[in-house]
């Protein structure tokens, strides 16, 4: 038990912080309940997928600056293809968009491996490219989302306080992450992020593992884009502020920039915390623009602290 606590101490701490923030919300807004939780989860959903996407590549020792742009591509593709399409066909659209995400991520990864240009530069260039692709698909917000998809994240399950959006998130992440985490590929992703030389000497194909990590990142980003379209009901070609938010959540969630450490659970709790802080500020009727500033400052400070810790760790 004590080992469990020491190994997952950071995640447990985050969970405690989240629960106390929930309690605080309840204090400032006594009628905060199922509907509050539901709207929180729905607002967090795209952020959570962006965070999961970023977490995978950061664990592999990289970074992907094009996460938000890939989400935009996936979102507008889904919105455009679903407009006026029957339920059955829209299922195919969802599958297609997920494959598109895998492909976009794999392209990012392959470019990094083949060109040998550092990941941060490649994904910066690809940020612009995917942004352009999204704009080509849809110039201004438009398209539609199938009603059954919209209803998937609206409301809660039965009499429980369990938002549907949360169930969707948990299922999507679990389907991919749980089998992956214990597989050889998953271990290889951790290995190349932890110590690339040791990984090479242990006989791991570094290049392929990196491409796979970026492909999974793309897959999560596509889910994020879908979630965005599901919640707004249309496609938005200009990417939202998901890049910085995802980096901040990943760092706050205990995934070390530089790779090898952490998992998905911590970052996901962290992203809920960050969204809840925003919600609380709104409930306290703080000017939404000031909320943006506070939120941005929190994220930048988190990233700065994370960088300091990573730098110290590398030197020690």
């Amino acid at each position: 038990m004590s080992r469990f606590i020491s190994k997952h101490g950071w995640t447990l701490g985050l969970l405690a912080l989240f629960l106390s923030l929930l309690a605080f919300t309840r204090v400032i807004q006594p009628d905060f309940g199922a509907s509050g939780l539901e709207s929180l989860t729905r607002a967090t959903l795209p952020f959570a997928f962006a965070t999961a996407a970023m977490a995978v590549v950061v664990i592999a020792g990289g970074i992907d600056l094009s996460v938000a742009s890939m989400m935009a591509v996936a979102g507008v593709t889904a919105a455009v293809l679903m407009e006026g399409v029957s339920g059955g066909a829209s299922v195919a659209v969802v599958g297609l968009v997920l494959v598109l995400g895998l492909v976009m991520g794999a392209i990012n990864g392959a470019l990094i491996v083949v060109t040998r240009v550092p990941d941060i530069v490649v994904t910066l260039a690809m940020l612009f490219v995917w942004e352009g692709v999204a704009l080509l698909i849809l110039k201004a917000p438009g398209g539609a989302a199938s009603p059954w998809l919209r209803s998937m994240i609206a409301g809660s399950l039965g009499i429980y306080w369990l938002p549907k959006a949360f169930v969707l998130l948990a299922v999507c992440l679990a389907i991919i992450w749980v089998p992956l985490r214990r597989s050889r590929l998953g271990l290889s992703i951790y290995a190349i992020g932890s110590d690339e030389h040791a990984a090479y000497r242990s006989g791991i194909a570094i290049g392929w593992t990196r491409i796979a990590a970026y492909a999974i990142c793309g897959l999560f980003a596509a889910m994020g884009g879908l979630a965005l379209t599901m919640s707004t009901g249309n496609g938005e070609p200009i990417p939202g502020p998901y890049l910085l938010a995802s980096v901040a959540a990943v760092v706050l969630g205990g995934v070390v920039l530089g790779g090898g450490r952490g998992a998905l659970l911590g970052p996901i709790i962290a992203v809920f915390i960050l969204r809840l802080v925003r919600m609380d500020l709104t409930l306290l009727s703080v000017d939404p623009n000031i909320t943006t500033i506070v939120e941005g400052t929190i994220m930048v400070v988190v990233v700065m602290l994370g960088a300091v810790l990573a730098y110290r760790g590398r030197r020690a």
Partner: protein, 499 residues
Amino acid sequence: MTEQDTQTPLLDAKGVSKRFGAVIALSDASLRINKGEIVALMGANGAGKSTFVKILTGALKNDSGQVLLRGINRKIGSPAKARRAGLVPVYQEPSLIPDLDVADNLRLGNTPVEPFRHWVDQLGIKDLRLVDMIGHLPLATLRILDLARALAMKPDILLLDEMTAALPTNLVKNVLRVVRQQANEGQSVIYISHRFAEIAEICDRASVLRDGATVGDLPISDGVEDKIVELMLGAALDVGPTRDAETTTQPGGTPRLAVKGLALGSKLEDVSLSLHPGEVLGVVALEGQGQDELFEVLAGMRRADKGTVAVDGVHVSFRHPANAIAAGLTFVPGDRAHGLLMQRSVHENIALPLLARPGKWGPIRMRAEAAKVKNAIERLQIDTRAQGEVQRLSGGNQQKVTIGRWIAKGVDTLLLFDPTRGIDVRTKRQIYLLVRELAAQGAAVLYYTSELAEVPAACDRAVVIFGGKVVDIIEAADANEPTLMRAAYGLPRQQTGAA
């Protein structure tokens, strides 16, 4: 023994060569291993051992020659393929993933768990749990785990690179016992070590590399150390006279640099030395005996765990190289890639320390700077034909640029870390002459070299470091290669006349 000659050797490498650009790392290396043999692979620093190991284990490709496994020429393209062919290496740095636990590391390498546990037990690690994170385990344990993982693969040939280097005595004993037991059961071992005692204890033969070629293959018997030392020593370095014997200074007065009981990390344990103005003090050590840490502490790159450093009698503690430079300690790193602005010009490289302080951020006085740079270039005879980018210079000229930087700035105490590694004889001689000249002008020089023949040519005396501690101080007059080599290997000095 006669029976072995008739059977095909397990591993037979012949005429292996490898060059990196202009540097020939291996010219004609060979190694033959029969079933059940333990062969020591020996060679002084820079003899090409690590390159040879990398080729044997598939981490590098050889230019010519062949590596036969059980008589078949097999291309070993990667460490993974070597493993599948039955050759399992244990490198000096553990190849375990620090952020995964033991079980995950085993799964990653497809290592069977039960044999692994058996070997861990045999090697004397009692309290290991499979859920322990690799990054939290001490280095000695990691090396044992790496060995146990290799043993669990049931390798035909086990390659151990400095396996016992970071281990406490009881674990060393276990390792030697297990290795011997392996050989008795018919498995072969390539054993790389600096420790003669261990080689004498377990090895059957020793294969000796010198300057990239295999120069001898001896069965282990009493007194074989002397023969091995002799083989490892090359022809004496002929650089001509670099100084008069009489000019050897006798230290006196306050030392420029006094180091007491310096310790850092697992390698630098306890080093004390003193360096006087006008003196060139050599540092002699095999690779990884703590000399890197010693120089890094003196240069202000890292802070020591223990011990004191005094400059001109005043205690100092450096937080940044700028502090060391302010105290007059200037550092020339061993790896030129760490010391040079590779894409920039000779001029910019040499002028760099002149501009380091914020007070110098303004307009540069070009003429004064050019004069200083020109002086340094002339004094070092730097070939400036390709001065636009330092990376286009030859290694020797690059080295001169890293030293020239401090000539332009003015030298009090120069810390030279292996300044002649991989450069031609003519440039080497120029560097010895320069070092002597600087000393004659009152500078103090601490001079680590991996080439023992340089000590009498450049230094007044040399401290020998072994296992992170000073084991001997040898005057230039006595510093012939055999003496230095024996000392560097931690062997006692021979009685006079024997060398």
